[in-house]
Every structure is written in structure tokens, then in C-alpha cells.
């Protein structure tokens, strides 16, 4: 490996404990590339949640495409489970899902770790789809991502959550369902809002 990369063993050892550690590092570089490129993208600040998520997937897969054969050979065996790449992907997704472009009540859900975990799993499924995608420029995966991010964006920015929270709060404050009459439960509810 050192000979191929043109570095001496000491330099290698300064960065990696063992040759096996090199494999996930290639994947981590893809996430680094995403951070660098998205920061350098003109107008990125104006991107919607859908566009940010799409940008994440496209940059990630473009970076992996530079090592497509390597990814095909190593993805399932080296990084699919319990890798730093998995953590990096989850962290990047968490940043997108807790962005203030998403309504505050929705963030109570999208900031929850199982959501990040599910989306990380979806991301890995996408990578597997991309690995087996033989269409030109993996356009089938591009189209799939386009639909996926539209769907996810629709879910995470769904206005019904805000409205639902608003409705629930109104019901509780005004005791619209008469819940205060219930034993025990009633004690925990605030008094009727006299101002309304």
C-alpha cells in the first residue's frame, strides 16, 4: 500500500494503526468532500431542505464514483456496519434534519436519533442501489434520489405537525375535551385560559 501510494511506512503509521483502517478512511474522505463542496457551492445558503439533502447524496456518490470498483469490493464487507463512515453519514444527516429551515415542532421529531438512523440506513440502501446501477452516469440512482429527497423533504417539512401541536395545545389550555374532569390526568392539565 505504501509503495502504491508513494509514502514511507512511518508516514503511514502516523495516520493509520493498521492497513485495514485505510478502507473506511476512503469513505470518510467522501463525507469530507461533501462538507467542502457544499460550503463552496454558490447559493448553498438558499438551498431548501430537499436541495440540501439531494446535494448531500449527489456529492457523496460522485466522490465514491471516483473509486467505484473499490466501493463495489469493500462496501458490504468493510463499512456497511459499525464504521466511522456510518457515523459521519448519520452526523451529516442530523445536521440537515435539524436545520432551522425545518419547522420547530417538526424538529422535535427529526432531531430524534432513530430518525437519523433510519435515514442512514436508507442512505446505505441507496449506495447499494448505486453499486448495482449500470445505467449511464448511474442516472437511475440520480432519479431515485430525486424522488426520495422530494418525499423526505415533504415529510420533514410537513405543516401538519405544527398545526397538530397548535391544536393539541389549544385543546389542553381550554380543556376542549373536558379532560380536566378525569381523575389523575386532570391534575396535570393547566387551568382554562380565561383570556380566550
Amino acid at each position: 500500500m505504501c509503495a502504491e501510494a508513494g509514502v514511507d511506512k512511518a508516514t503511514f503509521s502516523a495516520h493509520f494503526d493498521a492497513p485495514e483502517a485505510l478502507f473506511p478512511a476512503v469513505y470518510d474522505l467522501a463525507v469530507d468532500q461533501y462538507h467542502l463542496l457544499s460550503a463552496a457551492t454558490e447559493g448553498y445558503d438558499d438551498f431548501t431542505v430537499e436541495e440540501r439533502l439531494a446535494s448531500f447524496y449527489y456529492i457523496l456518490l460522485d466522490a465514491l464514483a471516483e473509486h467505484r470498483t473499490f466501493v463495489k469490493q469493500t462496501f458490504d464487507s468493510r463499512v456497511r456496519y459499525n464504521s466511522s463512515f456510518r457515523s459521519e453519514v448519520r452526523a451529516a444527516l442530523r445536521t440537515i434534519l435539524t436545520d432551522d429551515r425545518i419547522p420547530q415542532p417538526n424538529r422535535l421529531v427529526t432531531g430524534f436519533w432513530p430518525v437519523h438512523e433510519v435515514l442512514t440506513e436508507v442512505t446505505f440502501a441507496l449506495i447499494r442501489h448505486w453499486i448495482s446501477d449500470e445505467s449511464a452516469d448511474q442516472a437511475a440512482t440520480t432519479a431515485l434520489i430525486d424522488r426520495l429527497v422530494a418525499f423526505v423533504a415533504e415529510l420533514v417539512t410537513f405543516g401538519g405537525v405544527s398545526r397538530g401541536v397548535d391544536l393539541a395545545w389549544h385543546i389542553v389550555r381550554n380543556d376542549a375535551l373536558g379532560l380536566r374532569r378525569l381523575p389523575l390526568v386532570g391534575r396535570f392539565l393547566p387551568g382554562r385560559d380565561r383570556t380566550e
Binding site: T41, E42, G43, F47, T48, E50, E51, R52, A54, S55, Y58, D62, S135, D137, A139, A140, T142, A143, D146, R147, V149, A150, F151, E154
Partner: protein, 448 residues
């Protein structure tokens, strides 16, 4: 290419696209259910009336939903409806409106598509690149940009995976059309549409069309874009930007009759130069969004995705039929209707008579402008006769004639639609002369 209308109800989410197919199917199903219920209960007039109402309702539902989809389905709806005559009353308005709307392809996807096609992100390739699309285009969308050498360009970016989508969309659409249209060889017609759609997904081919039309017609009063090859691939097409206003914006300024006449003449002559030319190649997407009315008095022509080259024999027979129609010569018309596949021995006598009567009516109508020059396209009588004819076509619901008619009709109906809205007086003597010259070459006597 003028700016587009912002009022857009294009399905924002891609998921909605498939939902619309399902919804359309449900609507058609619901209409059938209503029809069957009425048949059982005896409501809603006699059987023929109910059937007719059902067909009209289905056609309208189908068309309305398809026009929201654009892409494959819209193009299919446009092409098939014009050929089969499945034209709901609001057809012209719906078509014109749909063409201006901008479908959303998110900015990240646009960047990705440009990078995949041209190797770099747009900001690295162009001096400037407008991230928001300015118009819908053939199976993609168009962005304004400026080249490093300072030229203003329009960049057409194709949706991903369009070619694969075409096949599945066609399969769904075919089953829906089959319910509405009878007779004839629907497979051959679908194959013709499929071929054009496949061609439309190849932007390198469109660049060839652009060069062809620029060489043939970009002189004098016609302006066309030029392809910029070094910024073009199969899925991204860069062409020089053509200024101008669409028909609706042009008409909003209430132009005087002389100005209407001028542009009407340009539109009329442009079509006839193509029809009469032995290149046999036609800009078949003659809808209002593809013509630009310029301040300098010239006519801009854009979007060369849908270009049809006719076989020599079809084109020659069409010219002969034109001549026979203009001369109102039934003895010459009859064999040509057979040669062009409109009439054939397999037709039942009643159907054959119906088709013959319709084509006599339609044929006589479209040659009216050649018989009377200048012809006034603002004539309310002509417009009504044309609309009646389209209505009669929608009642036929038969697939008739050679598949090559699909795109000839598309161009012709598109032109008539434009002229009826523009209301010019057009001098048709030059177009008759062009046809005459070609007829002479074919050894046919010129128009009397």
C-alpha cells in the same frame, strides 16, 4: 426565449407524477362506473348520447391530468390527440398554457445533471448560470446562462432517467388511449410517437436539428438559435439565446393589424418553406411557446426537439393531395387517400363513408387560405368551421391514416391555432407558388 409565467400547478413532488397517473385511471374508471350505472337505470339520454358523454368526459379528464405531467405523457397526449382528433373544447388553451409553465428540478439536481453531462458544475463552466429555470423544455428544463466568451445562451437540462421513463409511461398511456380510440393500427402510431420521443431525449441530435434549421432558415426574417457544441452532450444542450416575446405577451400589447399581418405572414411562409422543401424536414412542435415575436420585426423559432423528416413518397403524395384539394378534384383525391392509408379495403362501408366525408370537409377547410389571397385568419366563420371540424374529429375516435400524419398534423394544427389567435391577413400566393414549383418537379400540373 421569453420569461415564463409563474402561475404553475406542475406537480411539485415527483411522487405526484405517478399519483396523477393513478388518479387519471381512477377518474376514467369512475366515469365508466357512472356510465354503467346510467345505462342500468336508464338515466342520461339514449345509449349513443351516454357513450358520447362518457368519451368526452374521459378525454377531458385524461387530457387535463396529462397536461399537468408534461414530459412524456404531455407529449404523448399532444401528439395522439392531434392525430386522432381527440380534442376537448379547451384543448388549445390547455396546450398553450402548459407550455409556458416551469417544472421544478431542484438546484442540486440541475448541478448534478450538468456535471454528469459536461464534467463540471455549472458555475465552473459558465460565466453565469441562472439556477432557476426559465422555461419547461422537451423532457427537461431551460436555464439562462452566459458563456465565458460573453455569449448569452439557453441551457437545456434533461431530467434523469427519461429514456427509461418513456417506456413505462407509454405502456400506461397506451392502455388509457386504447379505451378511447378504436380502429386502425394503434401500434404503428405509438411506435411513431415513441421514435420521436426517443429522438427528443438525444440532445446531440437536437443540436444537429438546430444546425440544420439555422443553415436553412436563419436568414432574413427568421431567427433560430445556434448549438454550442463544446457545452452540449446527450443530456445537456447549450444554444445561443434568442430574444423575443411569446404570443400572449405580444397580444397583450394589442398590436395593430399591419403588425399582426407581418408576423402571420412569417409563420405561414416558414411552414410552407419546410413543407415545399425537398429536405422533407419539419419543425413539428408548432405551439405558441416555440415562436418568439421580436422587437426587430423578425420571428424567433426555438425548440428543435421534435423534428420530423418524412419519407419521400409520403411527402410527395401529401403535396399531390394538397394540389387535388385546392383544385377540388375528387378523381385525384380518392386514390391519394388510399395511398396515404386513410381509406382502405378493410373498412366497413359506413366507417369508410364517415371517414371520407370527414376528410373531404377537413381537407376543403385547410385549403381555403390558398384559394383566397389575402386570407383573413380573423374570420370568425373560418374559426368556427375549424372548431366544428375538430369536434367532428373527436366524435370519430378512430386511428386513421399513416403514422406520418401525426407530426404533420401537429405542425399544421399548431400553426392554425397560432394564426387564429393572431388574426392576421396572410398573402398565400407565395406558398402556392412554392407548392407549384415542387409539383412541377414531381411532374404534376401546378395548382389551377
Amino acid at each position: 426565449m421569453s420569461t415564463s409565467d409563474d402561475n404553475d400547478d406542475f406537480p411539485a413532488s415527483k411522487l405526484e407524477r405517478s399519483k396523477i397517473f393513478a388518479k387519471t385511471g381512477l377518474k376514467v374508471g369512475k366515469n365508466y362506473a357512472q356510465y354503467l350505472a346510467d345505462r342500468v337505470t336508464g338515466r342520461g339520454g339514449d345509449a349513443d348520447e351516454r357513450r358520447e358523454a362518457l368519451n368526452t368526459q374521459n378525454a377531458e379528464d385524461l387530457f387535463r391530468e396529462f397536461s399537468r405531467l408534461r414530459g412524456t405523457a404531455l407529449k404523448l397526449a399532444q401528439s395522439m390527440s392531434m392525430d386522432t382528433g381527440m380534442l376537448p373544447d379547451e384543448f388549445m388553451d390547455v396546450m398553450a398554457e402548459a407550455q409556458y409553465s416551469v417544472p421544478p428540478m431542484n438546484k442540486a439536481l440541475v448541478r448534478k445533471r450538468v456535471r454528469d453531462a459536461l464534467g463540471q458544475f455549472p458555475e465552473r463552466l459558465f460565466a453565469s448560470f441562472e439556477p432557476t429555470a426559465m422555461a419547461a423544455a422537451s423532457l427537461g428544463q431551460v436555464h439562462r446562462a452566459r458563456l465565458p466568451d460573453g455569449r448569452d445562451v439557453a441551457v437545456k437540462v434533461q431530467y434523469p432517467n427519461v429514456r427509461e421513463t418513456i417506456e413505462s409511461d407509454l405502456a400506461v398511456a397506451r392502455s388509457l388511449f386504447e379505451r378511447l380510440i378504436g380502429g386502425g393500427d394503434i401500434d404503428a402510431h405509438f411506435e411513431e410517437v415513441r421514435t420521436r420521443l426517443r429522438e427528443e431525449t438525444d440532445y446531440l441530435q437536437e443540436a444537429d436539428h438546430i444546425d440544420f434549421f439555422a443553415e436553412q432558415y436563419d436568414q432574413g426574417d427568421i431567427v433560430t438559435p445556434r448549438a454550442v457544441r463544446e457545452f452540449t452532450s446527450e443530456t445537456v444542450l447549450t444554444m445561443t439565446y434568442v430574444e423575443g416575446r411569446h404570443l400572449d405577451a405580444f397580444l397583450d400589447d394589442d398590436p395593430d393589424q399591419a403588425t399582426r399581418d407581418h408576423y402571420g405572414q412569417l409563420l405561414w411562409d416558414f411552414l410552407h418553406e419546410q413543407v415545399a422543401s425537398n429536405q422533407r424536414t419539419l419543425h413539428a412542435d408548432a405551439h405558441p411557446g416555440n415562436f418568439l415575436f421580436r422587437e426587430d420585426g423578425r420571428l424567433g423559432v426555438i425548440d428543435f426537439g421534435c423534428v420530423k423528416t418524412f419519407p419521400q413518397d409520403f411527402r410527395d403524395d401529401m403535396l399531390r393531395l394538397y394540389r387535388a384539394r385546392i383544385d377540388d378534384d375528387p378523381d385525384a383525391i380518392e386514390p391519394l387517400l388510399h395511398d396515404l392509408g386513410i381509406l382502405h379495403e378493410d373498412l366497413a362501408p359506413a366507417v369508410r363513408d364517415e371517414i371520407r366525408a370527414f376528410f373531404d370537409r377537413y381537407g376543403s377547410l385547410i385549403v381555403e387560405p390558398y384559394r383566397q389571397s389575402p386570407f383573413d385568419f380573423g374570420d370568425a366563420g373560418f374559426r368556427e368551421r375549424l372548431q366544428d371540424c375538430f369536434r367532428a374529429a373527436s366524435e370519430m375516435r378512430e386511428v386513421v391514416g399513416s403514422p406520418h400524419f401525426i407530426f404533420l398534423n401537429k405542425a399544421l394544427v399548431g400553426l392554425l391555432n397560432l394564426l387564429i389567435q393572431l388574426r392576421p391577413r396572410v398573402d398565400t400566393t407565395r406558398s402556392v407558388r412554392l407548392i407549384d414549383d415542387e409539383l412541377e418537379r414531381l411532374g404534376v400540373a401546378p395548382v389551377a
